[in-house]
Each structure stands twice: as C-alpha cells, then as structure tokens.
C-alpha cells in the first residue's frame, strides 16, 4: 500500500456535537425541569438532568406541623391526582394511630381515588397525543377532567389542591348531588373515552410515532425502581392495590394491564386500560356503597360536631386539643404505600410521640423513575425524547417535593 495514502475511518472524524437545553421552562417538558442534551444533529447522544426548580422542602415543613396540617402539603406532590396523595397520607397516619375505618369510608375513598386516577391518566394520555400532533383528543377529553373536578368541588369545595378527607374518614358524607354527579360521570365518560380511543389507539400516525419509542426492559425498569403504569408497560404486574391492598381494594374485581416492550405505546395502552378498570371499580363501589358513617368514632382524632363544641364542655376540649395538634401519637415508625397515578406513592413516617412527625419521607415515584430518562432516550431522535417524557408522566411537583 502506498505509504502516503491514509485511510479515514468514520469514527476518526472529529464530530461536532451541539448542546441543547430542553427546559427548564419549555412547553414540552410539562413542568419545570431541565435536560441538557448533547445532540448529534437530530440524535440524542447524552443528557444531563437538573431538577429541583420547585423544591419546597415539604419534608422539613412536615416536621413542624401537626398531623392534620400535613394533608395540604401532599396536595402539591402530584397535583394531577391530589386526592390519592391526601388519602395515602391519611391512611399512613391511621396506620400509626391504629384506626380502623368502616367499609363505607373505604368505598368512598376508593371512588374518590379512582376518579383521581382517571383524571391523572387522562392528562398523561391526552398530552401524549398533543406531543405527537393531535390536539383534538386533548381538548375534548379535558371536559371530562373538568367534570371530575366538579365532583371534587361538590365533595370538598376545592378543585386542584383538594385537601380532601380527614384522618379517620371524610369531613362530610356523599351528598345526593355527589352521587348523582358520579352517576352522570360514569355515563358520559364511557362515551368520551371510546371517542378518545378511536382517535388515537389504532391511529396509523400515532402508532408509528409511539411504537418502539423510549423502550425499557423489565429488568432495567425494576432496577430503576419503576412502579405504576410505567413498570406495568414493561411487563411486570406489580400494583400496590393488589399486592398490599388498602381501603378494601380486595373487594373489587379488576385486572392489571401489562405491556410487553415498555415503550411509549405500551405506556399509553396500559393507562388507557387502567381507566376502564377504574371506571369498573367506581361502578362497583357506588352500587355496593355500604351504609355507615363517613367518619370513625374516635374523639381523640376526629373533630366533634360544631353544635356540640358550642354547647358541650367535653366536645370543646377535644376540639381544642385536635386543632392544637395534641393527639396522642404513639412512638413508632410506619411505611404505607398507595398506588398513585404514577406508581407506588409511599409515606415513611417516624413518630417520637410528639405533636408533629419526627421524620416524614415521601417516596415519590416520579423522582425515582425519572433518573432512567437519559438511558431511555439515548440514540433516539429529539422528537422521540419529547414523547418519551410525556408518556412517563413526570410531574414536577412530585419530582421535587
């Protein structure tokens, strides 16, 4: 070979990579967090994540608040499904205090939590549509989410940050109006969801854009601590509602949908099927709603009725003690988890017998599984990275806590 001849291997060519900031305030991130992408043209080579933009020190605040004042903090974790966070926290405190709730409270909680799950999945799935270019489904389906918010409003007066329920049950019973609204929701939501499915589920463009995009294997997903729909899309049938039932979930018959590839389309389908299952659970719970009281009968933790506070000495004392946070919490540590919109939402509560927790740690599913994002988008296109992110349903409030 001629000595002057040099062979140029493609890998020897000095490549120029571009650095691209995806976020912190980019509409495609659906929240405030930053990804610094290293790009080779349209291809994502690597990504570095920065989070913490809306960190509000909830764990520190919780150490300085009486137990009943922590529920509003949990609202702001995954604000797409605040009632699940509220009730999950209340269940944790009830476990610590040893309170057993009756079936009516359980069923009411199940109804509210499943409504919240539907609202959460609706946002996620319709936004996957938006990010692939289909705004129509999003606009239509948001009316149903709006209707769920009206049910919350009827129930507790708030819509987004609900602060629904109390330790030991609910602040008020289902009014006839609430029951009527839930029945109406079941009727209209079925129709709307079928319409939404017809728009996207077998849509050629949507399938081409989402199948085999951002996949993750079951082994990697477990190692990364995935839970919820994202783990189930990878083919692992782990659901807290079945593995460690709370709130009488064992009374209900529902399936856990699983995917095979763990890609964006599978995550979409799992959420879609879960909405149908949630609807089934709501129907069953509403039909079999047992008689009973909406609050447990425990004067140490449940506020007495207002008329009694004004007229009876004992009720006044209990009222005062509860409002001042003087409930006799035992020493101990308890971990309780519920199936949130995004996966296992855990509460690790350490009590030293004082009026506020000694330590309260939130296991936020988003925070744990979002660290897999660079691995999932590596080697893919930028536009695929965007829909992978929206299909993971990363909620900034839950990410940062």
């Amino acid at each position: 070979m001629n000595e002057n001849y040099t062979v140029i291997h493609p890998e020897d060519i000095d490549k120029q990579y571009t650095t691209l900031n995806l976020g912190p305030t980019h509409p495609a991130t659906h929240g405030i967090f930053q990804n610094v992408l290293t790009m080779d043209g349209e291809k994502v080579i690597d990504s570095e994540q920065t989070i913490g933009y809306i960190h509000r020190a909830f764990e520190k605040i919780a150490e300085h608040r009486p137990y009943y004042q922590i529920t509003p903090l949990t609202d702001r974790l995954n604000y797409c499904s605040s009632p699940i966070n509220n009730i999950g926290y209340q269940l944790t405190v009830e476990k610590l205090l040893g309170i057993k709730t009756n079936k009516r409270i359980d069923y009411m909680r199940v109804i509210i939590m499943e409504l919240a799950r539907i609202a959460d999945h609706l946002v996620c799935n319709s936004v996957i549509g938006v990010d692939t270019g289909a705004l129509t489904g999003f606009v239509y389906i948001f009316q149903e989410r709006e209707f769920i918010y009206e049910i919350y409003e009827e129930m507790c007066g708030a819509r987004l940050t609900t602060n629904i329920g109390r330790i030991g049950g609910f602040e008020r019973d289902f009014s006839p109006k609430v029951i009527e609204k839930i029945r109406e929701f079941i009727k209209r939501f079925e129709k709307a969801l079928i319409e939404f499915e017809n728009l996207l589920l077998r849509n050629r463009i949507f399938m081409d854009r989402t199948i085999k995009v951002g996949p993750i294997s079951a082994e990697r997903a477990i190692s990364y601590g995935f839970t919820g729909p994202n783990l189930r899309a990878a083919g692992v049938d782990y659901d807290v509602r079945v593995f460690s039932p709370y709130c009488s979930y064992e009374d209900f018959d529902f399936i856990i949908p699983v995917g095979t590839h763990g890609d964006t389309y599978d995550r979409f389908c799992v959420r879609q099927t879960e909405m149908w299952e949630s609807l089934k659970i709501i129907k069953a719970a509403l039909e079999n709603l047992p008689e009973g009281k909406h609050l447990v009968d425990d004067p140490y933790v449940v506020l007495p009725e207002k008329e009694k506070v004004y007229s009876k000495m004992e009720a006044l004392i209990y009222h005062f003690k509860i409002v001042m946070g003087e409930i006799d919490a035992p020493k101990g540590e308890v971990y309780h988890s519920v199936e949130g919109g995004n996966g296992e939402l855990g509460f690790y509560l350490v009590s030293e017998g004082e009026r506020s927790p000694f330590r309260l740690h939130f296991r936020r599913p988003c925070f744990i599984y979002y660290q897999a994002y660079p691995e999932m988008i590596r080697g893919g296109m930028l536009s695929d990275a965007i829909i992978t992110m929206s299909s993971m349903n990363v909620i900034a409030g839950e990410l940062d806590c």
């Binding site: 989070i51 913490g52 960190h55 020190a57 764990e59 520190k60 605040i61 150490e63 300085h64 476990k95 610590l96 990697r220 477990i222 190692s223 990364y224 601590g225 692992v236 782990y238 593995f243 460690s244 101990g332 540590e333 308890v334 971990y335 988890s337 296992e344 855990g346 690790y348 350490v350 330590r359 740690h361 296991r363 925070f367 744990i368 599984y369 979002y370 660290q371 897999a372 940062d400 806590c401």
Partner: protein, 162 residues
Amino acid sequence: MTNEEVLKKFQERFATVETTAGEPYGMLTLEVDSAYIHDAIAWFRDTMNFNFLTDLCGIHYPDKGKALGVIYHMHNLQDNFRIRLKTFVPVENPHVPTVTDLFSSANWMERETYDFFGIIFDSHPNLKRILNVDYLDYYPMRKEYPLEDPTREDKVDSYFGR
C-alpha cells in the same frame, strides 16, 4: 416467607455481625453496622430475591451517638414481602457505602440523602446536590437547622403593616 424465617436466615449468614431486629407495625426491621450494610443488601438481593429497592432515605437523631441514619426499604416482588434495613453513622464521619452498583434507582435517592443530611456515599458515581442549589453550605434536614432562616428580612412585620 415470614419475619422469623428471614431473620433466622439473616442471622445464620451474618452470625458475627451485631444486628438489632424489630417488627414495628409488622415490618421486619434490621439495624446493621455500616461496614456490613452493603453486604447485607447484596445478600438480600441475590440470595433472598429482594430485587426491588423501594425507598432509601436519611434520618437525623441529634441525641444519639451515631446520629445520622440511612433507611432502606426493600421488596421481594415474587413473595410480596417487605423489609426495612437501617444503618447509623456518626456526624463527624458520615460514610456509608453506596448501593448504586446493586440498584440503579439508588443513584438519585442517595444524592437526595447527601443533599439533605450530608451523608457521604462512598464510591457513588456522581455524588452532588440534587434538589438544593450547589452553593448551599449546610445540610438543611439536620435537626439543628430551623424551618426558616431566622435572619431573613423579607418577612418582617413592617412589610405587612403590622
């Protein structure tokens, strides 16, 4: 799988290691010395099939000799069994081995624990602050720090007409 069985197997394997066991609210809780915590977690993962690290967080007991703690929640998905492991280290020398080699999910959880409690996870690939700003010079979840900075001036009464 019951708490007794798991505890017995653990004590057989780690006979020389001093451990404290308890069952608060039904969950088997083991306190292991920080020198053995990595071995214990690896053993639980590989031998006992606890292949899911549910949670990792820190805790601070200012009155204890070994004040800083790391708490691991592990889950055996096959048998649906959960355990809790704890390890404590002194504030002056808060070194705990990392478990990122066993679980990818530990990466950010350990960074969060470092960020808030200043626990240093040895041989962690990227141990830096995650939720707080990089230039923060203290570990805010430690008990000696109050909820609000007492020197801040944007909340004084004069701003609110009081």
